[in-house]
């Protein structure tokens, strides 16, 4: 009969003081061979050993391996994987086992899925290694598996959440684009009367020409060349205006491309010509020479300019000598404007090459109180029916989609200056520098 448990522990610990650790283990195994089975069984990882010389039959199957696979030891020992797992899984295990023996090296399977007889699928991280028993000249494969199903489930959930988030983000962007489109259609309505006026004038001219020609002409009528030139010009003018309106109201997607700003501003002025003329407004367009192209969505940016021009026209109503100035120049974002909180790829960074466009009016200006609310949706100082109040909030949204900036300030001389900062379009050289062929520094 063996000594009581307490006495054994006492004796071991007294030995532990003098003997080296490997001796302690040796003694322990000699005294109680079952302790090894107990250690193996209580490991927090699944452990199994297969006999490579006998069809990879299982010779060891610990408790954790039983838990994970739901296969009890008595049904595993002496059997091959083909008795316990699906044909497909067993085939895969066998291939790995054979490779381990062939190469004589440790083999890691970071993720493998097995279908258990219990019905569930589990994810394992498995390491297999060959063990050579030189005395009996036999080869075994030892495997250690860790159940990583919970981690995989969390990862799958995260992936799913991420998909939902991406989808929600897409929907948000679509809604924003719809809002921008709605605002655009609203301003098309506002522009319609002006555009109709601008088209009716060339039509009136054309009718005059037709009337003249229809009432009979002689071959040498001196007026003929002039009439035909005027008629051709009128057709081109009407076409330009209508095309501008169609371009303006179309395009629901955001498509960023390299564009020159000046033609865009001229087109916006063409669409708002009626309002500008009605308001007796003097317009000055001052663009720096050789202004680089900017990276913009043409239709959306035109929407911004139409919006800002109309705002300026309304602000100058009834003011003496109304003057609208559209001023543009290229610069770099200075170091002082560095915004640490916004240093992501989506924002402008110090040193970025940009074009700054200022739309300056000499109207009534904006009070300090209103300046705080100016970008709020539905905020307006205009009379009911004149504006929906979405204008500037939508303008800002469009600028944000362009990764640009917008700011407003009262001018010292009176009136308001709206400043737009837009990133210069990347040049071919920039693209090459960024690409996979970038030279090592």
């Amino acid at each position: 009969m063996s000594a009581p448990e307490g006495a054994k522990t006492q004796r071991l610990s007294s030995k532990a003081k003098s003997a080296p650790p490997e001796q302690i283990l040796h003694d322990l195994l000699a005294e109680s061979p079952s302790i090894l089975a107990s250690i193996v069984d209580n490991l927090p990882v699944a452990l199994f050993v297969k006999d490579a010389d006998h069809d990879f039959r299982v010779v060891l199957w610990n408790k954790k391996q039983e838990d994970i696979t739901t296969i009890p030891r008595e049904k595993a020992l002496g059997r091959t994987d083909f008795h316990m797992f699906s044909q497909e899984s067993a085939q895969y295990f066998r291939q790995v086992d054979e490779a381990v023996v062939r190469r004589g090296k440790l083999f890691e399977i970071p993720e493998e899925i097995i279908s258990t007889p219990g019905g569930g699928d589990i994810w394992l991280k498995t390491t297999k290694a060959p063990v050579f028993d030189t005395t009996r000249n036999r080869t075994f494969v030892i495997g250690i598996s860790e159940d990583i199903t919970p981690q995989i489930r969390v990862r799958e959930q995260l992936k799913e959440l991420n998909t939902h988030l991406t989808l929600a983000n897409q929907q948000l962007q679509e809604t924003q684009l719809q809002l921008i489109q709605a605002e655009k259609m609203e301003s098309v309505g506002r522009l319609a009367a002006g555009v109709a006026h601008e088209v009716k004038n060339p039509l009136a001219l054309l009718l005059m020409g037709v009337e003249y020609l229809a009432s009979g002409i002689t071959e040498n009528d001196p007026n003929l060349p002039e009439i035909l030139t005027e008629m051709r010009d009128a057709i081109a003018r009407a076409d330009r205006i209508i095309r501008g309106l169609v371009d303006y109201s179309s395009s629901r997607q955001l498509s960023l491309e390299s564009h020159e700003l000046l033609p865009l501003v001229e087109n916006a002025l063409l669409l708002t010509r009626h309002e500008v003329r009605k308001g007796n407004i003097n317009v000055e367009v001052i663009f720096e020479k050789d202004l680089p192209p900017v990276f913009i969505d043409l239709a959306k940016m035109e929407q911004i300019f139409v919006n800002l021009i109309i705002n300026a026209v309304h602000a100058m109503e009834g003011r003496p000598r109304p003057n609208l100035e559209i001023y543009a120049y290229a610069t770099r974002i200075p170091e002082v404007e560095r915004d640490e909180g916004a240093r992501t790829a989506r924002h402008l960074r110090s040193g970025d090459e940009v074009v700054i466009v200022e739309i300056r009016d000499n109207g009534s200006g904006i009070s300090e109180e209103n300046m705080q609310k100016i970008f709020d949706p539905f905020f307006t100082t205009k009379a009911t029916g004149v504006g929906t109040g979405l204008g500037l909030s939508v303008v800002r949204k469009i600028i944000e989609l362009h990764r640009g900036r917008i700011s407003l300030r009262n001018r010292v001389s009176g009136g308001v200056a709206v400043s737009l900062t837009l990133k210069v379009a990347p040049t071919v050289q920039d693209e090459l520098d960024k690409g996979p062929f970038k030279k090592k520094q």
Binding site: A196, K200, N201, A204, M208, D233
Partner: protein
């Protein structure tokens, strides 16, 4: 003696072709003024029998010009036909004639037949 018509409209091409049509049969003597700010001076010098006046113009609009004419003793009786491409609520359909505050309004584009009969009617009445 042919009647004198003054056209005040900033659309230079339109006024040129309108004059060609009006002068064609030698019925009218036509003067053009494309800058509304000079309209009063031109009218005072020309002394028209009738004025064709655009409504939307830079500088002074048609209403401002009509008011200046009203204030001028020699011009206040001169009949005015407003020609406008302006689209507004209750716009008259193309070719029809509307009367607003004693001023005849014709929408652009206007057919010559409509314009001629309108001019003839008004000149006969005055």
């Amino acid at each position: 003696m042919s009647k004198k018509i003054l056209i005040i409209d900033d659309e230079a091409g339109f006024t040129k072709l309108l004059r060609m049509n009006l002068e064609r049969n030698g019925d009218y003597e036509v003067m053009i003024e494309n800058h509304s700010v000079h309209a009063l001076k031109t009218a005072q010098a020309f002394q028209p029998d009738l004025v064709l006046l655009d409504l939307v113009m830079p500088g002074l609009d048609g209403g401002d010009v009509a008011a200046l004419f009203q204030a001028d003793p020699k011009l206040k009786k001169v009949p005015v036909i407003m020609l406008t491409a302006l689209v507004a609520h209750g716009e008259t359909s193309t070719g029809s004639v509307a009367q607003a505050a004693g001023v005849t309004v014709l929408p652009k584009p206007v057919e010559m037949a409509t314009l001629r009969s309108c001019i003839t009617d008004i000149l006969e009445k005055s």
